[in-house]
Amino acid sequence: MNSEKKDSRLHENKIKYIYGIADNSLILGQRLGELTGHGPTLETDIALTNISLDLFGQVRSYFQYAAQISEKEVTEDDLAFLRTEREYLNVLLVEQPNTDFAYTIGRQFLFDHFHILLMMHLQNSKDDTLVAIAKKSIKEVNYHKRFSSDWIKRLGDGTEESKEKMQTAINDLWRFTDELFHTTEADEEMIKAGVGVDVKTLKETYYKNVSEVLEEATLEIPDLKYFQKGGKDGIHTEHMGFILSDMQYMQRTYPGMKW
């Protein structure tokens, strides 16, 4: 009885832990998907939507796994589309809007550098499925990181206007970066179990890597003391409701619909 209870809690925490990783890719993928046919040029449009597709592919693997280990009768689609806002555990960074191309690139850049570190460490998890997903994802995220970092340099070290816009975006998005390294109770449980990555230990490398690119891009590294958080506990910014209403529309309107 006791061990069963403990097992079931471990299970629940693992599912929450998976949400914490997958929801970032889901919401960022959704944001990038909004740009389909609206990218500033054909090439960037294709690139951003390709990145979106990679992220959705990764999300599917996570949710298929979560659905499989869940004690409830759920499918990957239920997990993606039918949770309430407070049940999504993505960081605030990824839900920020596509204000302009500099914001889109800035958000991508700040996320990609975190994403690659997370995946590199998730490879050492004791959970075989998460290891497989991480190994697969690393290859793709490397391309994402290269793409966003190149654009940071191009825009930062570009014209006066592109530099100013890029700096503004970075300054504005910087306050969402600290949350990437927070852990929830479920995260801590999973770290203890050898399944999860202790993101707190990635922080230093992250800021070092990000700063190197910003320096090369002749951009200033923001000096900020106050950061925003909440997403990991399901407390989102005002943007989240709009994203979900768009994303969940079909499943809510036509329950159980399939392509």
């Binding site: 090439e43 294709i46 690139a47 390709n50 597709l53 599917r60 697969k136 793709e140 190149d150």
Partner: protein, 166 residues
């Protein structure tokens, strides 16, 4: 290059070889390297495939096409998607690379050459139309996630380059 041991049943192989990649129809899924196992017990065929890219929409189609092909050949077919080990462009066979080039897609180069080409450091990607290496990168992401877009500066034709993924 690490040789991955792949067990593909001899009786099933010719049938699977007839199943093309839906996005690159000249390329058999065997030559693409996504078939990781094909076993036969009596009339029960079980096939394991692995995705090229996580979000590759072709995988569902490939799974369905395998089931159809095997069913038509009189087998009971089951297809599973596996994630590990992750697919690598090294698994595209020589025949597959040739098919890509004939089709107008430059086949993947080794990792270090690939990186140099995609960073624009060296002109290494050969134009599948005229064979010139005087080409330049237009976009790291092409018509699908697995390809980058290049342009030939000699014959002026744009073309896809199959990105290295190892």
């Amino acid at each position: 290059m690490v040789e991955e041991k792949v067990h593909i049943n001899k009786e099933l192989e010719p049938i699977l070889r007839e199943v093309p990649d839906p996005e690159i129809p000249v390329l058999s899924i065997i030559d693409l390297g996504v078939v990781r196992e094909a076993r036969l017990e009596g009339k029960k065929a079980s096939v394991k495939i692995t995705p090229t890219y996580s979000g590759c929409p072709a995988m569902d189609v490939i799974g369905d096409d395998i089931v159809t092909a095997l069913t038509n050949a009189g087998y009971q077919a089951k297809v599973d998607l596996i994630l590990a080990p992750a697919w690598s462009t090294d698994w595209i066979t020589e025949k597959g690379r040739k098919a890509l080039e004939d089709y107008g897609i430059a086949p993947p180069m080794d990792a270090s050459a690939d990186k140099k080409a995609l960073l624009g450091e060296e002109k290494l990607v050969k134009c599948p139309q005229c064979g010139s290496k005087n080409t330049h990168l237009v976009s790291q992401f092409g018509s699908t996630a697995c390809k980058a877009l290049f342009k030939c500066d000699d014959c002026q034709e744009p073309f896809d380059y199959f990105k290295c993924l190892i």
